[in-house]
Symmetry: D2
Subunit: 280 residues, 4 copies
């Protein structure tokens, strides 16, 4: 078990009446337990919360008037991970009904045009978790992590051609290649501690292998077994941390992740926690 | 009320073990009542049926061995339509939580890149059902209905540029323009009688207006109030009539729609039904 | 030396006054000699011919009135080929000024977005003709030749993703990968005899290697040393066999290639010529 | 006549042996006279200059070794402009052979997919210079000038959808819409004084109207009759101010344009020149 304290602080300058929808809160999920949490929004704002029954994502929405706006979410979350060794693939005929749609193409994951190339590249690999690991490794080795090389509308197909992207692009490509060879796959975003600042939300993917969802991080930047899950979705449009309708300027964005010592106490001689405050 | 008898006959030459998933059955929906129906699949096939709880779409799946395969669905469906006159738009802040995601871009509906153009074209129109009608009319007047001009991977953005497509492209563009100006919208496919053969599945769209879903057909080819709904989805990938994993050749596809006289009896002098058999 | 008799017969139904521009005639080129040729166009049409000084392509243009139109070009062409063994690449700094622009991206050859992937795939191969052969072989092995999989606006980037195309798509991808690793490359279209009918125009590419242009055919469908060159261009838009401005329907298209016995006489026992008449 | 002093200062940190090709020099063109000019490149570099016979563009190329590199071009150029009032369009059948290819699609100007939309929007306008003015005005009114909204690989089609771009995108869209309705068009880049700094190269387009090329600036940012022409091309790839093969970092880029008083002397009371120094 890993205990993390995660926090997101967002400040906005709202210029016109604006409707916001956020997906920042740690998910209630079998692999994690929210020990404590609090959400603070500027006073006078009526916050409406709901959980999407399909994905389990927790959203909160509100209307904001012009002026400064603060959103601050903080939680202590225990993450439980299982060791996953070898797992077989599930034949498509045995994919459960409710998982089936994760085989379909989505906005940023055009598995419908990448069937041949995925088959060429990974069709002859032995089915099983090792095949998805090969996909993740190939992405890690072939796609350059380069901030600024993609935008919020960049798709897996474009990333495959340009060979550059950021974490969500890496995850989208992994999802696309999996779906294209008939392995259900979806996006996961969450909090995870990076060796190198700045801290930020992270995007990885999970594939349906051996009757369960297994996480993969093609960026190799963070240990997937310590990720505090926020959202799960078909692709990035389902798990945007913030969606707004109106006119706003984001003036501050700080994501911090504090990983507590797994044994629950500070070892002598060095601090048991590492604090990383993200830049805007 | 309109009573229709609808039927789809599909024949395949299955070349290798194949898993099929179909979405052919009339939906259980407030606006229609299935008076009777039957589904026939080649003997020896174990059919598994399920209804997607999110969309209400009815799917059936099965594994097929090499050889000929027949799927035949037939139903009598009563369609009830309400006259819709004037309806206001729902401010995005009042869009219900479970409808909210229909504002997001999807595989074939890139509303995330068409925000400016949609705003330019329809942003100054008075909000309400008339604005969506203007969108549908603009599509009707500006996009050429031309079979062969698009493929199964064509997107709304491409249709907007090339100004040609088929019914699903018209619907995708309507959905995209609606979402881009913050009106939830989604795809509807179903059975409807066309004046000119061949009969085939039809795709239209519906927008969330005045607290309810309202149907629009930018092709103008069919009366929306008589459509027997099969599927409802974010876009075409959610409502494919057939998805398969394996190797097959479709050897026959016949869609027929028989509109019974709305008064329930044959007028003297001419037959009360119109039969249209679709070509392959 | 190979002697070929080539012919293109085109018939159109001109529906409105139309301006035509054709590029059908064998080029005057160091590697081929036009022994005889004739061009026939429906009577009453004033044909204007010109040769583009940059490419050497021969065009003819005319205005046609409504009614039937016939264009028939026939030529006997001697093709001289040199055996090309090993050739080094030319460093980009030594690429002649007039060849330099063949390093740039064009409409169907987006070498500007494929630099990284081309470098990844072929950047570590030893420079020289063998590297271009590896590109051509990779295309041959990885892209499926599938009529109908592409359109007249399909680009190399799309072919790279979808892994299917026809001869012009194969050539465009070869050109793009060459340019992306700084080897000048361009499209060549011409007449060549195919083992399997129908005969048609063929598209291949040539790369600037060892101070000369060398032909490559990634489809492997035809012997490049026997191609009767019609046109040379940056990509397909420069060498369309026919461009028209108006309203026409093509009612007949026959391309035929007759390869005479290289020794100039009929061997005993079998005919010295092979005739292949192309379908529409 | 307008007399301008133009200057470009470029500094690079060359990290590995690199081949450069620049297109910075004012063109020798009927509408302008280079009164004086000088080109300075870091010592020890052997510069090779040439003029492309097709476009008239002046290029200089050289190899650079690792270390700092300076390129400084300065010229006094007299620009002569004619007043253009009304001009008819040239029917495509009368477009001269050497102009004909400016009707074709190019890398960033996909007129082949925008034929229908261009015809819809401008097909019913009276032919002539006023129709091209309508195209330029429509772009001005419909496309937002927004630095950062496009990249070096953005095409006209994308600009048409996203409704945002910079000067080259505006020009590409103008070219594309013209070609799509059979008006030859091409890109022009040059030096022109902007009211608002920073100064930079400017891109506009010219269309073949009334038997001559006429300049249009859909950004409306600069008077076209005072532009000092550097390059003329099918689209941006033909007129990049700098192309390099190697590894470099640009450390300084200053473009300055000094418009001398057209009467050739300083009016009393205020300076006769306006100096604008461009930022990096």
């Amino acid at each position: 078990m890993h205990l993390s304290t995660v926090e997101t602080v967002l400040e906005y300058d709202v210029k016109a009446p604006t409707h916001f929808c956020f997906n920042l809160e740690a998910a209630h999920w079998p692999t994690q337990k929210i020990a404590s949490e609090r959400l603070a929004v500027s006073s006078g704002v009526a916050v409406h919360s709901f959980t999407d029954p399909g994905s389990g994502n927790r959203f909160f929405r509100f209307d904001a008037s012009p002026g400064p706006l603060l959103v601050d979410y903080k939680a202590d979350v225990e993450v439980y991970s299982e060791h996953v060794d070898d797992l077989p693939e599930v034949p498509v005929s045995q994919v459960p009904d409710e998982i089936f749609h994760y085989l379909m193409p989505t906005r940023y994951c055009e598995s419908d045009v990448m069937g041949s190339v995925a088959q060429q590249m990974f069709g002859n690999e032995a089915p099983g978790i090792s095949r998805v690991r090969k996909i993740a490794n190939w992405i890690h080795d072939s796609i350059e992590y380069r901030p600024g090389s993609s935008t919020s509308t960049t798709t897996a197909q474009e990333v495959f051609v340009q060979r550059a992207g950021v974490c969500r692009d890496f995850a989208h490509l992994g999802i696309t290649l999996c779906r294209a060879i008939n392995i259900p796959a979806r996006l996961v975003v969450g909090y995870v501690w990076f060796d190198e600042p700045p801290q930020d939300f992270h995007a990885i993917f999970e594939a349906w292998i051996g009757g369960r969802w297994v996480l993969f991080d093609p960026t190799g930047m963070a240990p997937v077994d310590r990720l505090v899950r926020i959202g799960t979705g078909r692709d990035a449009k389902d798990v945007a941390f913030s969606t707004f309708f109106g006119a706003v300027e984001m003036t501050r964005k700080e994501v911090s992740v504090l990983e507590h010592d797994p044994r629950g106490r500070a070892p002598s001689g060095k601090p048991s926690v590492v604090l990383a405050a993200a830049g805007a």
